[in-house]
Protein backbone atom coordinates (compact mmCIF):
# COMPACT_ATOMS: atom_id res chain seq x y z
CA UNK A 1 0.00 0.00 0.00
CA UNK A 2 1.67 3.14 -1.21
CA UNK A 3 1.54 6.43 0.64
CA UNK A 4 0.12 8.26 -2.36
CA UNK A 5 -2.36 5.56 -3.34
CA UNK A 6 -5.71 7.34 -3.53
CA UNK A 7 -7.60 4.09 -2.99
CA UNK A 8 -5.63 3.38 0.17
CA UNK A 9 -6.38 6.87 1.48
CA UNK A 10 -10.08 6.48 0.72
CA UNK A 11 -10.08 3.06 2.35
CA UNK A 12 -8.66 4.54 5.53
CA UNK A 13 -11.20 7.34 5.45
CA UNK A 14 -14.12 4.95 5.93
CA UNK A 15 -15.93 5.24 9.23
CA UNK A 16 -15.71 2.74 12.09
CA UNK A 17 -17.81 2.89 15.25
CA UNK A 18 -15.74 3.68 18.33
CA UNK A 19 -16.74 3.77 21.99
CA UNK A 20 -14.79 6.14 24.19
CA UNK A 21 -13.62 4.61 27.45
CA UNK A 22 -12.61 7.89 29.07
CA UNK A 23 -13.93 11.40 29.36
CA UNK A 24 -12.08 13.62 26.91
CA UNK A 25 -12.33 17.36 27.50
CA UNK A 26 -12.82 19.51 24.42
CA UNK A 27 -13.55 16.69 22.00
CA UNK A 28 -17.31 17.16 22.24
CA UNK A 29 -17.49 18.43 18.67
CA UNK A 30 -17.13 14.83 17.53
CA UNK A 31 -20.56 14.19 19.02
CA UNK A 32 -22.17 17.42 17.77
CA UNK A 33 -21.61 19.00 21.15
CA UNK A 34 -18.87 21.53 20.51
CA UNK A 35 -17.01 22.98 23.45
CA UNK A 36 -18.03 20.30 25.90
CA UNK A 37 -16.42 17.18 27.26
CA UNK A 38 -16.85 13.95 25.39
CA UNK A 39 -18.35 11.59 27.95
CA UNK A 40 -17.16 8.09 28.65
CA UNK A 41 -19.18 5.49 26.78
CA UNK A 42 -20.12 7.72 23.87
CA UNK A 43 -20.28 5.96 20.50
CA UNK A 44 -19.00 8.00 17.58
CA UNK A 45 -18.12 7.11 14.03
CA UNK A 46 -14.49 7.94 13.32
CA UNK A 47 -12.41 7.39 10.20
CA UNK A 48 -10.39 4.22 10.26
CA UNK A 49 -6.98 5.89 10.38
CA UNK A 50 -7.95 7.94 13.43
CA UNK A 51 -9.77 5.24 15.33
CA UNK A 52 -6.91 2.81 14.76
CA UNK A 53 -4.44 5.25 16.29
CA UNK A 54 -6.72 5.93 19.23
CA UNK A 55 -7.43 2.26 19.86
CA UNK A 56 -3.86 1.05 19.59
CA UNK A 57 -2.11 3.82 21.49
CA UNK A 58 -2.38 3.50 25.23
CA UNK A 59 -1.76 6.47 27.44
CA UNK A 60 -0.31 6.51 30.95
CA UNK A 61 -3.13 4.35 32.24
CA UNK A 62 -3.52 0.76 31.14
CA UNK A 63 -6.98 1.60 29.86
CA UNK A 64 -7.40 2.14 26.13
CA UNK A 65 -8.83 5.41 24.97
CA UNK A 66 -11.44 3.89 22.66
CA UNK A 67 -12.81 0.46 21.85
CA UNK A 68 -13.34 -0.37 18.21
CA UNK A 69 -16.49 -1.97 16.95
CA UNK A 70 -17.11 -3.78 13.69
CA UNK A 71 -18.24 -1.39 10.96
CA UNK A 72 -21.79 -1.98 9.78
CA UNK A 73 -20.48 -3.20 6.41
CA UNK A 74 -18.98 -6.23 8.16
CA UNK A 75 -21.85 -6.85 10.58
CA UNK A 76 -22.99 -10.46 11.10
CA UNK A 77 -26.15 -9.72 9.11
CA UNK A 78 -24.04 -8.86 6.05
CA UNK A 79 -21.84 -11.90 6.58
CA UNK A 80 -24.89 -14.14 6.60
CA UNK A 81 -26.17 -12.57 3.41
CA UNK A 82 -22.78 -13.09 1.79
CA UNK A 83 -22.72 -16.70 2.93
CA UNK A 84 -26.16 -17.25 1.45
CA UNK A 85 -25.47 -15.69 -1.94
CA UNK A 86 -22.40 -13.56 -2.57
CA UNK A 87 -23.67 -12.38 -5.93
CA UNK A 88 -26.86 -10.73 -4.70
CA UNK A 89 -25.27 -8.34 -2.21
CA UNK A 90 -24.68 -4.74 -3.23
CA UNK A 91 -21.17 -4.27 -1.81
CA UNK A 92 -20.91 -0.74 -3.08
CA UNK A 93 -23.85 0.35 -0.98
CA UNK A 94 -22.16 -1.15 2.09
CA UNK A 95 -18.77 0.43 1.53
CA UNK A 96 -17.01 1.83 -1.51
CA UNK A 97 -13.81 0.02 -0.65
CA UNK A 98 -15.43 -3.01 0.86
CA UNK A 99 -12.55 -5.45 0.57
CA UNK A 100 -9.99 -2.81 1.53
CA UNK A 101 -12.01 -2.10 4.66
CA UNK A 102 -12.31 -5.82 5.31
CA UNK A 103 -8.57 -6.37 4.99
CA UNK A 104 -7.81 -3.46 7.35
CA UNK A 105 -10.34 -4.68 9.90
CA UNK A 106 -8.93 -8.20 9.74
CA UNK A 107 -5.54 -6.73 10.64
CA UNK A 108 -7.08 -5.34 13.81
CA UNK A 109 -9.52 -8.08 14.77
CA UNK A 110 -8.87 -11.78 14.85
CA UNK A 111 -11.98 -12.85 12.95
CA UNK A 112 -11.34 -16.11 11.15
CA UNK A 113 -14.89 -16.40 9.95
CA UNK A 114 -15.07 -12.96 8.37
CA UNK A 115 -11.80 -13.71 6.61
CA UNK A 116 -13.20 -16.94 5.18
CA UNK A 117 -16.47 -15.35 4.11
CA UNK A 118 -14.73 -12.41 2.45
CA UNK A 119 -12.35 -14.64 0.51
CA UNK A 120 -15.13 -16.92 -0.63
CA UNK A 121 -17.20 -13.90 -1.66
CA UNK A 122 -14.30 -12.43 -3.61
CA UNK A 123 -13.65 -15.71 -5.41
CA UNK A 124 -17.25 -16.29 -6.38
CA UNK A 125 -17.83 -12.75 -7.52
CA UNK A 126 -14.54 -12.66 -9.44
CA UNK A 127 -15.67 -15.51 -11.65
CA UNK A 128 -18.95 -13.69 -12.27
CA UNK A 129 -17.12 -10.45 -13.02
CA UNK A 130 -14.91 -12.21 -15.57
CA UNK A 131 -17.95 -13.58 -17.36
CA UNK A 132 -19.56 -10.15 -17.52
CA UNK A 133 -16.30 -8.49 -18.61
CA UNK A 134 -15.94 -10.92 -21.47
CA UNK A 135 -19.49 -10.50 -22.64
CA UNK A 136 -19.59 -6.73 -22.33
CA UNK A 137 -19.57 -4.81 -25.57
CA UNK A 138 -17.51 -1.72 -26.26
CA UNK A 139 -19.32 1.51 -25.52
CA UNK A 140 -19.30 4.64 -27.61
CA UNK A 141 -16.41 6.19 -25.67
CA UNK A 142 -14.27 3.11 -25.54
CA UNK A 143 -15.52 1.97 -22.16
CA UNK A 144 -17.47 -1.19 -21.44
CA UNK A 145 -21.13 -1.28 -22.35
CA UNK A 146 -23.13 -3.85 -20.49
CA UNK A 147 -26.58 -4.82 -21.54
CA UNK A 148 -29.17 -7.00 -19.88
CA UNK A 149 -29.34 -8.33 -16.35
CA UNK A 150 -25.63 -7.79 -15.60
CA UNK A 151 -26.15 -4.09 -14.96
CA UNK A 152 -27.59 -4.58 -11.49
CA UNK A 153 -24.72 -6.82 -10.40
CA UNK A 154 -22.03 -4.58 -11.86
CA UNK A 155 -23.48 -1.53 -10.16
CA UNK A 156 -22.91 -3.24 -6.83
CA UNK A 157 -19.20 -3.84 -7.35
CA UNK A 158 -16.78 -2.22 -4.93
CA UNK A 159 -13.69 -0.36 -6.16
CA UNK A 160 -11.38 -3.39 -6.18
CA UNK A 161 -13.89 -5.38 -8.17
CA UNK A 162 -14.32 -2.53 -10.61
CA UNK A 163 -10.57 -2.52 -11.21
CA UNK A 164 -10.78 -6.25 -11.77
CA UNK A 165 -13.63 -5.81 -14.23
CA UNK A 166 -11.67 -3.16 -16.06
CA UNK A 167 -8.58 -5.38 -16.26
CA UNK A 168 -10.52 -8.35 -17.56
CA UNK A 169 -12.43 -6.23 -20.02
CA UNK A 170 -9.30 -4.49 -21.32
CA UNK A 171 -7.48 -7.71 -22.05
CA UNK A 172 -10.54 -9.19 -23.74
CA UNK A 173 -10.85 -6.02 -25.78
CA UNK A 174 -7.17 -6.08 -26.77
CA UNK A 175 -7.69 -9.63 -27.95
CA UNK A 176 -10.74 -8.67 -30.00
CA UNK A 177 -8.87 -5.74 -31.52
CA UNK A 178 -6.02 -8.02 -32.54
CA UNK A 179 -8.35 -10.56 -34.08
CA UNK A 180 -10.25 -7.77 -35.82
CA UNK A 181 -7.05 -6.34 -37.19
CA UNK A 182 -6.16 -9.69 -38.58
CA UNK A 183 -9.39 -9.60 -40.52
CA UNK A 184 -8.79 -6.16 -41.98
CA UNK A 185 -5.34 -6.77 -43.53
Amino acid sequence: MSYYDVDAILTDAQKVPCTFELDVPGLGFLDNNAGHTLREGTRVELPLWLSEMLAVSSGSTSKNLVTLGLPPALAPRVMNALKADPKSVDLRALAQHFYGLGARILELFDEKEICEVLMQTFRTRAAEIADHANNAGVGSRGGAAVVGDGVEFLRGLDEDERALFRAAHDSAKAMKVWMGEMKKN
Binding site: G102, K112, A167, K183
Partner: protein, 241 residues
Amino acid sequence: MALPLPPGLTPMEVAFFCEMEMITVVPRQRLESLELLGGPTPVLKPPQRANLPLWLALLLKRQRRANILPPPWLLPTSLERILRYETETSPNAFSPPPPHPYAVTARQAPTDTISPPFLPSSTDDAPPDCLPYHWLELGEILLEACSDDITDPGHVRTLLRDLREVRMAKMRASTKDFDAEGGGVNSLVGVGAMEVAEGRQFILGVMDGLRKLGASKEAARREQEAGGEGGDLSEDDEMEM
Protein backbone atom coordinates in the same frame (compact mmCIF):
# COMPACT_ATOMS: atom_id res chain seq x y z
CA MET B 1 4.27 4.46 -14.28
CA ALA B 2 6.41 5.22 -17.28
CA LEU B 3 4.98 2.69 -19.69
CA PRO B 4 1.22 2.98 -20.23
CA LEU B 5 0.95 -0.73 -21.03
CA PRO B 6 -0.08 -3.22 -18.37
CA PRO B 7 2.44 -5.88 -17.32
CA GLY B 8 2.70 -8.86 -19.60
CA LEU B 9 2.57 -9.01 -23.35
CA THR B 10 0.00 -7.48 -25.67
CA PRO B 11 -1.64 -9.77 -28.26
CA MET B 12 0.44 -8.11 -30.95
CA GLU B 13 3.68 -8.94 -29.15
CA VAL B 14 2.63 -12.53 -28.65
CA ALA B 15 1.83 -12.79 -32.34
CA PHE B 16 5.26 -11.33 -33.09
CA PHE B 17 6.97 -14.06 -31.05
CA CYS B 18 4.79 -16.61 -32.78
CA GLU B 19 6.34 -15.64 -36.11
CA MET B 20 9.51 -17.40 -35.01
CA GLU B 21 7.74 -20.77 -35.10
CA MET B 22 8.97 -23.13 -37.79
CA ILE B 23 6.44 -24.08 -40.42
CA THR B 24 6.56 -26.32 -43.48
CA VAL B 25 6.30 -24.79 -46.92
CA VAL B 26 6.13 -26.19 -50.43
CA PRO B 27 8.24 -23.81 -52.54
CA ARG B 28 7.19 -22.87 -56.04
CA GLN B 29 10.51 -21.28 -56.95
CA ARG B 30 14.15 -22.08 -56.28
CA LEU B 31 15.78 -20.08 -53.53
CA GLU B 32 19.35 -20.36 -52.30
CA SER B 33 20.06 -20.71 -48.62
CA LEU B 34 19.73 -17.43 -46.67
CA GLU B 35 22.15 -16.58 -43.87
CA LEU B 36 19.84 -15.55 -41.05
CA LEU B 37 20.83 -14.72 -37.48
CA GLY B 38 19.24 -17.95 -36.34
CA GLY B 39 21.22 -19.99 -38.84
CA PRO B 40 21.01 -20.67 -42.57
CA THR B 41 17.66 -21.57 -44.12
CA PRO B 42 17.42 -24.74 -46.19
CA VAL B 43 17.82 -24.43 -49.96
CA LEU B 44 14.35 -24.27 -51.49
CA LYS B 45 13.87 -26.61 -54.44
CA PRO B 46 10.34 -27.12 -55.70
CA PRO B 47 8.57 -29.45 -54.94
CA GLN B 48 10.65 -30.45 -51.92
CA ARG B 49 9.15 -29.47 -48.58
CA ALA B 50 11.23 -27.31 -46.28
CA ASN B 51 10.86 -25.85 -42.79
CA LEU B 52 11.07 -22.08 -42.52
CA PRO B 53 10.32 -19.54 -39.82
CA LEU B 54 6.74 -18.36 -40.06
CA TRP B 55 7.63 -14.76 -40.93
CA LEU B 56 9.69 -15.88 -43.90
CA ALA B 57 7.04 -18.34 -44.98
CA LEU B 58 4.43 -15.56 -44.86
CA LEU B 59 6.68 -13.33 -46.93
CA LEU B 60 7.18 -16.01 -49.58
CA LYS B 61 3.47 -16.79 -49.53
CA ARG B 62 2.60 -13.17 -50.10
CA GLN B 63 4.97 -13.09 -53.08
CA ARG B 64 3.45 -16.33 -54.34
CA ARG B 65 6.79 -18.08 -54.14
CA ALA B 66 5.62 -20.79 -51.79
CA ASN B 67 2.57 -22.55 -50.40
CA ILE B 68 2.22 -23.12 -46.67
CA LEU B 69 1.40 -26.59 -45.39
CA PRO B 70 -0.89 -26.14 -42.38
CA PRO B 71 0.29 -28.09 -39.32
CA PRO B 72 -1.57 -31.37 -38.70
CA TRP B 73 -3.36 -30.02 -35.64
CA LEU B 74 -4.96 -27.27 -37.74
CA LEU B 75 -7.00 -29.77 -39.74
CA PRO B 76 -10.75 -29.73 -39.00
CA THR B 77 -10.68 -33.39 -37.91
CA SER B 78 -7.88 -32.83 -35.38
CA LEU B 79 -9.48 -29.68 -34.03
CA GLU B 80 -12.79 -31.47 -33.66
CA ARG B 81 -11.04 -34.25 -31.75
CA ILE B 82 -9.31 -31.75 -29.46
CA LEU B 83 -12.56 -29.86 -28.91
CA ARG B 84 -14.30 -33.10 -27.98
CA TYR B 85 -11.49 -33.86 -25.55
CA GLU B 86 -11.84 -30.41 -23.99
CA THR B 87 -15.60 -30.54 -23.61
CA GLU B 88 -16.33 -34.21 -22.94
CA THR B 89 -13.26 -36.21 -21.92
CA SER B 90 -11.87 -33.68 -19.48
CA PRO B 91 -14.25 -30.77 -18.96
CA ASN B 92 -12.08 -29.38 -16.15
CA ALA B 93 -8.53 -29.59 -17.46
CA PHE B 94 -6.80 -28.25 -20.52
CA SER B 95 -5.86 -30.66 -23.27
CA PRO B 96 -2.22 -31.72 -22.94
CA PRO B 97 0.52 -29.94 -24.88
CA PRO B 98 2.51 -31.85 -27.49
CA PRO B 99 5.04 -34.23 -25.96
CA HIS B 100 8.59 -33.02 -25.60
CA PRO B 101 10.48 -34.36 -28.62
CA TYR B 102 13.56 -35.06 -26.52
CA ALA B 103 12.56 -37.37 -23.69
CA VAL B 104 13.07 -35.60 -20.38
CA THR B 105 14.66 -38.06 -18.02
CA ALA B 106 16.02 -37.92 -14.49
CA ARG B 107 19.43 -37.18 -15.92
CA GLN B 108 19.64 -33.52 -16.86
CA ALA B 109 20.23 -32.78 -20.50
CA PRO B 110 20.64 -29.46 -22.32
CA THR B 111 17.52 -30.24 -24.34
CA ASP B 112 15.32 -30.29 -21.21
CA THR B 113 14.79 -26.55 -21.13
CA ILE B 114 14.18 -25.94 -24.83
CA SER B 115 10.70 -24.56 -25.34
CA PRO B 116 8.69 -23.13 -28.23
CA PRO B 117 9.45 -21.40 -30.55
CA PHE B 118 12.79 -23.23 -30.51
CA LEU B 119 11.00 -26.57 -30.61
CA PRO B 120 9.26 -27.09 -33.90
CA SER B 121 5.62 -27.78 -33.03
CA SER B 122 3.80 -26.66 -36.15
CA THR B 123 5.72 -28.34 -38.97
CA ASP B 124 4.02 -31.02 -41.02
CA ASP B 125 5.35 -33.80 -38.74
CA ALA B 126 3.92 -32.28 -35.55
CA PRO B 127 1.61 -34.45 -33.44
CA PRO B 128 -1.97 -33.91 -34.69
CA ASP B 129 -3.80 -34.25 -31.37
CA CYS B 130 -2.15 -31.59 -29.27
CA LEU B 131 -2.42 -27.83 -29.30
CA PRO B 132 1.07 -26.30 -29.24
CA TYR B 133 2.05 -23.23 -27.24
CA HIS B 134 1.26 -20.76 -30.03
CA TRP B 135 -1.88 -22.48 -31.34
CA LEU B 136 -4.35 -19.60 -31.28
CA GLU B 137 -2.15 -16.95 -32.85
CA LEU B 138 -0.64 -19.33 -35.38
CA GLY B 139 -4.07 -20.51 -36.43
CA GLU B 140 -5.34 -16.95 -36.77
CA ILE B 141 -2.30 -15.83 -38.75
CA LEU B 142 -2.48 -18.80 -41.10
CA LEU B 143 -6.21 -18.37 -41.62
CA GLU B 144 -5.54 -14.78 -42.49
CA ALA B 145 -2.53 -15.20 -44.74
CA CYS B 146 -3.17 -18.46 -46.51
CA SER B 147 -6.76 -19.56 -46.14
CA ASP B 148 -6.43 -21.10 -49.63
CA ASP B 149 -3.88 -23.61 -48.29
CA ILE B 150 -6.11 -24.71 -45.40
CA THR B 151 -8.81 -27.29 -45.84
CA ASP B 152 -12.21 -25.86 -45.01
CA PRO B 153 -11.01 -22.52 -43.53
CA GLY B 154 -14.47 -21.43 -42.42
CA HIS B 155 -14.93 -24.54 -40.33
CA VAL B 156 -11.39 -24.26 -38.92
CA ARG B 157 -12.05 -20.67 -37.91
CA THR B 158 -15.24 -21.65 -36.09
CA LEU B 159 -13.46 -24.51 -34.35
CA LEU B 160 -10.65 -22.21 -33.21
CA ARG B 161 -13.19 -19.75 -31.81
CA ASP B 162 -15.00 -22.58 -30.02
CA LEU B 163 -11.79 -23.92 -28.53
CA ARG B 164 -10.83 -20.47 -27.35
CA GLU B 165 -14.22 -19.94 -25.71
CA VAL B 166 -14.12 -23.30 -23.96
CA ARG B 167 -10.61 -22.81 -22.67
CA MET B 168 -11.12 -19.21 -21.54
CA ALA B 169 -14.21 -20.31 -19.63
CA LYS B 170 -12.10 -22.94 -17.88
CA MET B 171 -9.50 -20.35 -17.05
CA ARG B 172 -12.11 -17.99 -15.58
CA ALA B 173 -13.80 -20.74 -13.63
CA SER B 174 -10.51 -21.82 -12.11
CA THR B 175 -10.39 -18.63 -10.04
CA LYS B 176 -13.15 -20.07 -7.89
CA ASP B 177 -10.69 -22.53 -6.33
CA PHE B 178 -7.97 -19.99 -5.55
CA ASP B 179 -6.87 -19.72 -1.99
CA ALA B 180 -4.22 -17.70 -0.24
CA GLU B 181 -1.83 -20.63 -0.06
CA GLY B 182 -1.37 -20.64 -3.83
CA GLY B 183 -3.97 -23.19 -4.83
CA GLY B 184 -6.20 -22.51 -7.76
CA VAL B 185 -4.96 -22.53 -11.33
CA ASN B 186 -3.57 -25.87 -10.33
CA SER B 187 -2.15 -26.56 -13.70
CA LEU B 188 -1.38 -24.22 -16.53
CA VAL B 189 0.05 -27.12 -18.53
CA GLY B 190 -1.23 -26.90 -22.07
CA VAL B 191 -2.28 -23.25 -21.92
CA GLY B 192 -1.19 -21.24 -24.94
CA ALA B 193 0.78 -17.99 -25.04
CA MET B 194 -2.17 -15.91 -26.16
CA GLU B 195 -4.39 -17.32 -23.43
CA VAL B 196 -1.79 -16.48 -20.80
CA ALA B 197 -1.55 -12.96 -22.20
CA GLU B 198 -5.32 -12.56 -22.13
CA GLY B 199 -5.90 -14.02 -18.69
CA ARG B 200 -2.91 -12.52 -16.93
CA GLN B 201 -4.44 -9.21 -15.86
CA PHE B 202 -7.57 -10.76 -14.40
CA ILE B 203 -5.88 -13.67 -12.65
CA LEU B 204 -3.22 -11.43 -11.16
CA GLY B 205 -5.97 -9.15 -9.90
CA VAL B 206 -7.84 -12.00 -8.24
CA MET B 207 -4.71 -13.43 -6.65
CA ASP B 208 -3.68 -10.01 -5.38
CA GLY B 209 -7.11 -9.39 -3.88
CA LEU B 210 -7.14 -12.76 -2.16
CA ARG B 211 -3.62 -12.22 -0.88
CA LYS B 212 -4.65 -8.93 0.70
CA LEU B 213 -7.73 -10.46 2.31
CA GLY B 214 -5.84 -13.49 3.54
CA ALA B 215 -2.82 -11.53 4.77
CA SER B 216 -3.89 -11.64 8.42
CA LYS B 217 -4.65 -15.35 8.26
CA GLU B 218 -1.35 -15.97 6.57
CA ALA B 219 0.52 -13.97 9.20
CA ALA B 220 -1.17 -15.97 11.97
CA ARG B 221 -0.29 -19.23 10.26
CA ARG B 222 3.35 -18.20 9.90
CA GLU B 223 3.58 -17.20 13.51
CA GLN B 224 2.18 -20.56 14.51
CA GLU B 225 4.62 -22.41 12.32
CA ALA B 226 7.55 -20.34 13.51
CA GLY B 227 6.56 -21.28 17.05
CA GLY B 228 6.38 -24.96 16.11
CA GLU B 229 9.39 -25.73 14.02
CA GLY B 230 11.85 -23.46 12.23
CA GLY B 231 12.85 -25.93 9.52
CA ASP B 232 9.32 -26.37 8.21
CA LEU B 233 8.88 -22.70 7.53
CA SER B 234 11.93 -22.26 5.31
CA GLU B 235 10.98 -25.29 3.31
CA ASP B 236 7.49 -23.93 2.88
CA ASP B 237 8.84 -20.61 1.70
CA GLU B 238 10.88 -22.28 -0.95
CA MET B 239 7.86 -24.17 -2.16
CA GLU B 240 5.91 -20.97 -2.62
CA MET B 241 8.69 -19.37 -4.62
